[in-house]
Symmetry: C2
Subunit: 222 residues, 2 copies
DNA sequence: TAGATTGTTAATCGATTAACAATC
DNA sequence: TAGATTGTTAATCGATTAACAATC
């Protein structure tokens, strides 16, 4: 029953497998080998089999993997069947964009409530989700079993709100602010979505390519 | 002059260093050792010195690193001083949220234009950025030197738009759609922002913790 | 049965950590 | 000068890849 700790690298690949399997299902593919799956994802067949073997035996020799069954296993591993509840803090632009476009249900989450400080928003609903005042947050958390807080507040209040969240039984924070919340002391799980980090990595690779091209051109001129 | 290829892991840490250094500057800290920087970021001093040494010698024995100077070096490594231009495709909720909230300039980018298919938007401006029709995209790319396309279109048209982009000299795509664009054939740089992958990783870690707690409780009961 | 493909063990490769001489 | 801390080389650790017996 006791499973060896699975490395973060493996965990980060699981959602990609899930998306690919969904895509295969959509296209009517019902079985796939580690060779073909690896090819489509840019991974080696070995790695794929190693990854899966962290959690059990999902394939069949000589056949491969059943796409639907494998998808379901991975969904379970990721906890998509647990009905985790989430709340969203900060109904600004990013908050609204998430409420409108991101389908929490598709990934096994229920967005139960949102919180903001703006009086005009409090008491209203947005996309079927009730919006409460930020001062009601503490009592709300006491009365409801909430796992995840989606943090979409302005930078300036992020630390403050985080303290309220961690102090009142939130398991994890999905952090969209630019603030680094990963404190060494806290036991709260933090998942950062730092747009800027992503863009800067892109920027590096574009720069690198430009330099390579420039070097090539310089060599050609001589 | 020729630098050994730097690993992706190192590149992904650079933006974190940058943010931390900005925070230190804000707090009036002007010098820092690899020991202290590592402590604040949850990394070993060794790793930090190794990372920097991929790009040069930025510290001083017995002193540490000058926060402002180091920040500037990292910014250059990431290409933040190159004035890369970007365009945004798809002025929906996510697109608008980015245009409103994400400060491209802060990270060295200029958002030069946006494109959409909706007639009501075409010809207007949003946050100072002109919006053109999607049919003008090809001629626009021919006339302007654009490095990066921010892809915030609906899933259904993502592939189509991508082909236009890659076929007309775009270096990189910052992909906010749920579609996996990393084609094995294309040479375009793709940086994916998959919200769902991030949330599912979070979901896994919450599940794991819940299981641990349940196991603990079960043991205590015996 | 023969061919295909798994799950797993062993080998390789790469990334992180430790150690230390150099030097501010 | 003495203490601190770098940059770098060597040692360790972990992740990926290769190989292959098991078996559908």
């Amino acid at each position: 029953m006791k499973r060896l700790k699975v490395s973060n690298n493996v965990i980060r690949r699981l959602p990609r497998y899930l998306r690919k399997l969904d895509e295969l299902t959509e296209n009517g593919v019902s079985r796939i080998s580690s060779f073909e799956l690896g090819h489509q994802l840019g991974l080696t067949p070995s790695q794929i089999r190693q990854d899966f073997s962290c959690f059990g035996e999902f394939g069949q020799q000589g056949y491969g993997y059943n796409v639907v069954a494998l998808r379901q296993q991975i969904a379970m591993i990721l906890g998509m069947d647990r009905g985790f509840k989430a709340i969203l803090i900060g109904v600004g632009n990013i908050g609204r964009a998430l409420m409108e476009n991101f389908c929490f249900n598709d990934w096994g989450f229920e967005l139960a409530a949102a919180f903001d400080i703006k009086p005009a928003l409090i008491g209203t609903e947005y996309k079927g989700v009730p919006i409460y005042g930020i001062d009601e947050l503490e009592s709300y958390l006491a009365e409801h079993q909430i796992s995840v807080a989606v943090l979409t507040v302005p930078k300036t209040v992020a630390i403050n709100v985080t303290e309220t969240l961690t102090g009142n039984g939130i398991d994890a924070i999905w952090n969209f602010t630019n603030v680094e919340l990963t404190e060494p002391n806290s036991s709260t799980i933090v998942e950062n979505v730092h747009f800027s980090d992503s863009l800067l990595a892109l920027s590096y690779y574009v720069s690198e390519r430009r330099d390579e091209e420039a070097a090539k051109a310089a060599r050609a001129e001589k």
